[in-house]
Symmetry: C2
Subunit: 233 residues, 2 copies
DNA sequence: CAGATTATTATGTATGCACATAAAAACATC
DNA sequence: GATGTTTTTATGTGCATACATAATAATCTG
């Protein structure tokens, strides 16, 4: 009986993966503890730990102190989406990016916006509306509110040549945020701008970012009909 | 001058994060090497390594051997979505889940399906159509093709009580897959089933999973109007 | 026997050390 | 001066050890 030795954590990881896929360890099952596995694999417990930790991070294992490690009963699929700057997104597909600023004004936002951003209801915010185009066809419509008390530099930026989408990433650091994906029907105005039938189903991203306790910006981006967001899992 | 010591990798990580947010280290900048940071922080290099590795995983740092570590110029926002079983999704919100099988038959699929799944054009597949309901209201419509030559056990399962969505997770392991998010307009049939206006914008998930080289299942899930998928970032 | 206390145990992590590896920089060679 | 070779260096990883911590199991106590 030759027990091959596993020298590095990647090989331990793939052996564990193999056993899970081969159903030697079924969903819900406890697997041997780190010490035993280290003994079996002929490596240090640290190495086993590294491998199992990585698998737990990806959702395939459930680990709890003292309780032990088990194969996730319902392996939650974690889809990791890379949300890139729209310009890069288009250029990476080899298409030509262009951009058109449609509106830029400082006004008091609707209460839904000031409430979501935790700003005073009568504090004005900078409002930006712009169209991103791919090969001169409408690609995405960006509607954005910027909190100029957090990003004062935005007041001096025309956003004529650089999209807020891109400018903010470079000039406004954020600590955390939220992204919401949904599908919305194109309004009459939207459909005119996006050059699509009214009530078309548009893939929508709502994004709200914060720097410490203060909201930096809130954006809604409507993508043209047929837009897809894809990822491996 | 008191340099506080950072004993654990989390505190090292948050100090590094603080410096990035405070723009002491700007996007594109090289940061000191691990040995120097360990010296400064009063901990082992291993600990610094752990902290920096975690930040690199999340896309905030770029690391290359010999070259060093730098703050990512364009921090790609990585949105991590947890794609759970629909039943859990509903029950976790404290709502009542129910399920209705609408169709189950073995037929030769459209070429688009057999092509995507890399099966022979005339090989029959198991087709499932089912409705997931939350508090008795239509929630999601599942349209699925199952490759019974990969999951033979599916032939003996009625899917009357357990949704394919859930059954497969437990009985059909997969090695990799793809998820595509999009927005689609409700067809006449869809809208009748989902009890919504025709042409409603529906959030759509297309999922194709593989076990080694063979396609396991291909599913399209249409969510009712207003459905959102949200995540922190 | 319920409830509080203590022991046990599996994972979590810090550390010092050694060596591997990729890539840049320095150097040598033609 | 272009090209190939060697050195240097920062990250990547393995290992033995020690201790921390969370959560269960066992025990004690009223």
């Amino acid at each position: 009986m030759n027990t091959p030795t596993f020298r590095n954590w990647q090989s331990v990881q793939s052996e564990v993966l193999r056993r899970i896929h081969a159903r030697e360890w079924k969903p819900g099952d406890f697997i041997p503890n780190e010490t035993d596995l280290a003994l079996e694999f002929g490596c240090a417990r640290t190495t086993v730990n590294r491998a199992l930790r990585a698998l737990a991070d990806s959702g395939l294992l459930d680990r709890r102190r003292k309780a032990g490690t088990r194969v996730a009963a319902q392996p939650v699929a974690k889809a990791i989406l890379d949300i890139a700057v729209i310009r890069s997104e288009i250029e990476e597909r080899g298409q030509n990016y262009s951009y058109r600023l449609m509106a830029r004004q400082t006004t008091v936002p609707p209460v839904t916006v000031s409430a979501a951003m935790h700003t005073n209801a009568d504090d004005p915010l900078l409002s930006i509306r712009a169209l991103h185009m791919s090969d001169d066809a409408p690609y995405a419509l960006e509607d954005r509110w910027i909190n100029t008390s957090v990003v004062p530099a935005a007041k001096d930026e025309t956003f004529q040549d650089v999209s807020a989408n891109e400018w903010l990433l470079k000039h406004a650091p954020y600590t955390h945020g939220e992204i919401v994906f949904s599908a919305t029907a194109a309004s009459e105005e939207d459909s005119a701008i996006m050059d699509c039938p009214e009530h078309s189903a548009l893939f929508t991203i709502d994004r709200l970012t914060w720097d410490q306790g203060a909201a930096v910006t809130k954006a809604r981006i409507l993508f043209g009909p047929g837009h897809q967001l894809r990822t491996a899992l």
